[in-house]
């Protein structure tokens, strides 16, 4: 697997987990779950609420891995066949994803706590 695909895959995992956390966090404060999935679906969704902190931790873990992949020193080569790839775009991608996941996680955790 290429370096680029690996970074994109890992960052995608972080975004997915962050999105899942936000959806679970929002499900209990915003009444969209019943409208979208019906009563039974909303109950099923609410049963996943315990996964929220694990999803946030998992997203953070994926992000850490993405940063490590994007910033690690490229393997040294003796010939010109493995010229270091330009990682500037990948690093931008990881940073943008990190901000996005951060916002999703804050939304998820805040929404869960403000349920009164």
């Amino acid at each position: 697997m290429s370096e680029k695909a690996r970074v994109i895959g890992v960052t995608g995992g972080a975004i997915s987990l962050g999105g899942f956390a936000a959806a679970v966090g929002l499900c209990c404060t915003v009444p969209w779950a019943v409208a979208l999935f019906g009563v039974t679906g909303a109950v099923a969704f609410a049963r996943l609420a315990f996964l929220l902190p694990y999803a946030v931790v998992g997203a953070a873990g994926f992000l850490a891995l993405a940063f490590w992949l994007a910033y690690r020193r490229p393997p040294e080569c003796n010939d010109a066949s493995c010229a270091p790839p330009n990682r500037r775009a990948l690093r931008w991608f990881v940073w943008i994803a990190a901000v996005f996941v951060g916002v999703l996680s804050v939304v998820a955790l805040t929404m869960q706590v403000t349920l009164v």
Partner: protein
């Protein structure tokens, strides 16, 4: 072709039957007035029975999960007429639920002795909050997503509902207090203890 047509007709009949069955499952409800007079009357009429009172928002997923848990651990396992259940639906979510959401939520409870009420103004939660003394740092906490059980002797004679024998909640605002958090299994045990104390004829 004929076989396909018969399949289509059978499928349509099945769908209509299933929908009719679902509609039949949908419970009716009463709209509560400001003093909750209907609820008070029916609560007092059931004196001699163990009474449970659930206050929920009909579109709050956490409340719905609570109803589903109560159904699994308590209501679907008994049809004892000495257990009477009152469910008050109050609007707490934004945008608020509508009356049509109440019968949908009511489908989660399978027991012949359940009554549902819809309190569009939400005043019932304020009155119950006073009765339960739900406060955090001196501030009243609105009583919803609360689960109460009353003994056989409880009478509602004031304006607010009486103090329950036991209650649980799923309110984050009360998270730091020592009030018991929702656990349908423990709640069911309490109810069964009270039911066991009723003298059998």
């Amino acid at each position: 072709m004929l076989r396909f047509s018969s399949f289509l007709v059978s499928a349509a009949v099945l769908l209509v039957t299933a929908d009719a069955a679902r509609s039949a499952d949908r419970a009716t409800y009463q709209v509560l007035d400001e003093g909750a007079a209907q609820l008070r009357e029916e609560f007092n009429a059931a004196k001699g029975s163990v009474r449970v009172l659930f206050v929920v928002d009909p579109i709050c997923p956490g409340c719905l999960r609570g109803l589903d848990d109560m159904n699994k651990d308590l209501l679907s396992k008994t049809n004892d007429p000495h257990l009477q259940t009152f469910v008050v639906h109050v609007p707490r979510m934004t945008p608020p639920p509508k009356a049509k959401d109440v019968p949908e939520a009511a489908t989660l409870l399978h027991n012949d002795h359940v009554r549902h009420y819809w309190n569009p103004s939400g005043s019932f939660g304020e009155e119950l909050s006073q009765a339960l003394g739900l406060k955090v740092d001196g501030e009243d906490v609105y009583a919803w997503d609360v689960w109460l059980v009353y003994g056989t002797d409880a009478v509602w004679d004031g304006t607010s509902p009486p103090k329950p024998e036991y209650f649980m909640h799923q309110l984050w605002a009360l998270g730091v207090t020592d009030l018991p958090r929702f656990d349908s299994k423990v709640f069911a045990q309490r109810v069964h203890q009270l039911l066991a104390s009723i003298p059998k004829p």
